[in-house]
Amino acid sequence: MSRRRERLERPIKVLTDDLNALTSVRYLAYLLAPRVVPIVVLFAVAVLVPNPYVQRIITIAGLYGLLALSWDFLAGTTGLVSLGQALFFGVGAYSAALWNRLGADPLVGLILATLVGAALSTLLLLPCLSLRGIYFSMTTLVYPLLFARIIEATAVFGGTDGLLGIEPLPHPWIERLLILVVVVTAVFALRRMLVTDVGLVLRAVGDDDLAVRASGIAVTRYRVVAVFVAAALGAFAGAYFTHLYMVAGLSAFALDLSILPIAAAVVGGVGTLAGPVLGAFLLLPLSEAARDLGSLRIVVYSGLLVLMILWKPDGLVPYLRRRYEQVERWVDV
């Protein structure tokens, strides 16, 4: 006799599907826990652990989380696969440094760099947004390399030394918490956006752009909106980085910034928005812990990624969601 695995919805999942959830504190807790608990844990660690090294890792993980979120929003909804998140990051980083040089206050500079960086990145990518296929990926892959070489070769923006002497963010607490607030807000804002009419069109574009055009919608315009939003998140991360280290250098276009977000999205679950952020908060401490291994670090890291893809190709968040909402059992057939 053979057996097969059967999945059933948990009773509590069914009971909390509609307004009935409001009838019991337990139901509400069931609904809210997956959203509230991770956020509380994150902020608790950020506030309560005084170790500056841990603090710095959390902040950097937040920056990578924002990049991963930006990647996932583009790839998971509009189908534009970016191989160069470093473009958004780098443009944001240098913009922030330049605004600061022009005398902008760091917090104002952060906002300006986000907007200018997003606009600039969108303009750079505009020519390939009306094309189908791999052109977007190819272009995003090339731009960060191109900019790094140009800065290196022409010595603009401080050349290989970078732009030094940038002001830090006004207060250590802002430095510690602002990025986390932004990441969490961005996750919820994007999730909200995806259920609006504009979000529906964006998801449809990722699904079948020709059918969207047959529905009378200029696809390119919506791609521009999506790229601008994603670029804004990436540029904000870059600008933050500049004020964090008080320098904007070539490392803002580093390949790591393009690859780690994709890895984080794969680990956390592509298309889930929260997953890539979770992935970044798992991967970054891990990659730090493996720092002592020197160049072997990349081996550990790649091996882990392969295992993850083999074990849970959907990513962690879809897996955890399934476990949270369903029970599995073996039945005879």
Partner: protein, 258 residues
């Protein structure tokens, strides 16, 4: 001139002149001309590879013609983009239904209702107005309003519903002309029978229909004019009874019931 001139219901709406399109060495369309009066239903038939789908693609802007022109009323719409052509009032369906796999039927129509041609109309009704319009349209094409079907992801819908969804998408765009590409293919006779009243309703409303079909029997019931394509050329046109009596057509569709 004084009083309002009433539009002649038979005035020419769509004028296709001398369309040609070549793919590599294949002449897919070879000087096809056609006139579709307002409110008329024209059927286009022909064997596989006769250029039917290419004609649909050129008319809807998905393929550029090499030469020739398409005019809607007095506007030259040759080689305009698909989204512009929808804006002018021509909507199409696809031979294989193209649902958005992660979206529900309602959401699919909300996407169409966001198109420039109709965007303004369902606005102003407050929150959920597009969803309400979408639901009305779905009910019109035969989705059960109170069931779960309109909210299921489109990937899970059976063929019959997908075709209706394609039609509903056209309706959402408030078109003057609807072009269908083998709307009946892959459907059971009863599913086809349930689509026919819908087409008749559109005819009554004055929408011009261009039906590219393989299923002649059902087509001849709704169309008033039939055009036969062969090797990219228009070889014959006439009323359904004339076409059905033609020996060449009978030969082309040998085995098909005419």
């Amino acid at each position: 001139m004084g009083g309002r001139v009433r539009a002649d219901p038979r005035e020419p709406l769509l004028r296709i002149a001398n369309l040609s399109k070549q793919f590599g060495g294949l002449l897919a369309l070879d000087g096809v001309s056609l006139m579709v009066p307002r409110g008329a239903t024209v059927g286009i038939i022909g064997p596989n590879g006769s250029g039917k789908t290419t004609l649909v693609n050129v008319l809807s802007g998905f393929v550029r013609a090499d030469s020739g022109s398409v005019r809607l009323r007095d506007v030259d719409i040759t080689d305009r983009s698909p989204e512009d052509i929808v804006g002018f009032g021509i909507a199409r369906t696809f031979q294989t239904a193209r649902p958005f796999h992660k979206l529900s039927a309602v959401e699919t129509l909300i996407v169409a209702l966001c198109s420039g041609r109709v965007r303004g109309r369902s606005r102003g009704g407050g929150f959920g107005s597009r969803a309400a319009t979408a639901m009305d349209l779905l009910e019109e094409v035969g989705f059960e309003r109170d069931s779960a079907v309109p909210h299921q992801t489109a990937a899970a819908l059976p063929q019959g519903y997908l075709r209706r969804l394609e039609l509903a998408r056209c309706l959402a765009l408030d078109p003057e002309v609807i072009i269908t590409d083998e709307l009946f293919s892959g459907l059971s006779p009863s599913e086809i029978a349930s689509l026919l009243p819908l087409l008749e309703k559109l005819q009554v409303r004055g929408v011009s229909l261009i039906l590219v079909e393989h299923r002649l029997r059902e087509l001849f019931r709704v169309a008033e004019w039939i055009v036969v394509l062969h090797d990219g050329r228009k070889v014959l046109e006439g009323s359904p009874t004339e076409i059905a009596a033609d020996s060449d057509v009978r030969e082309m569709y040998l085995g098909a019931e005419v």
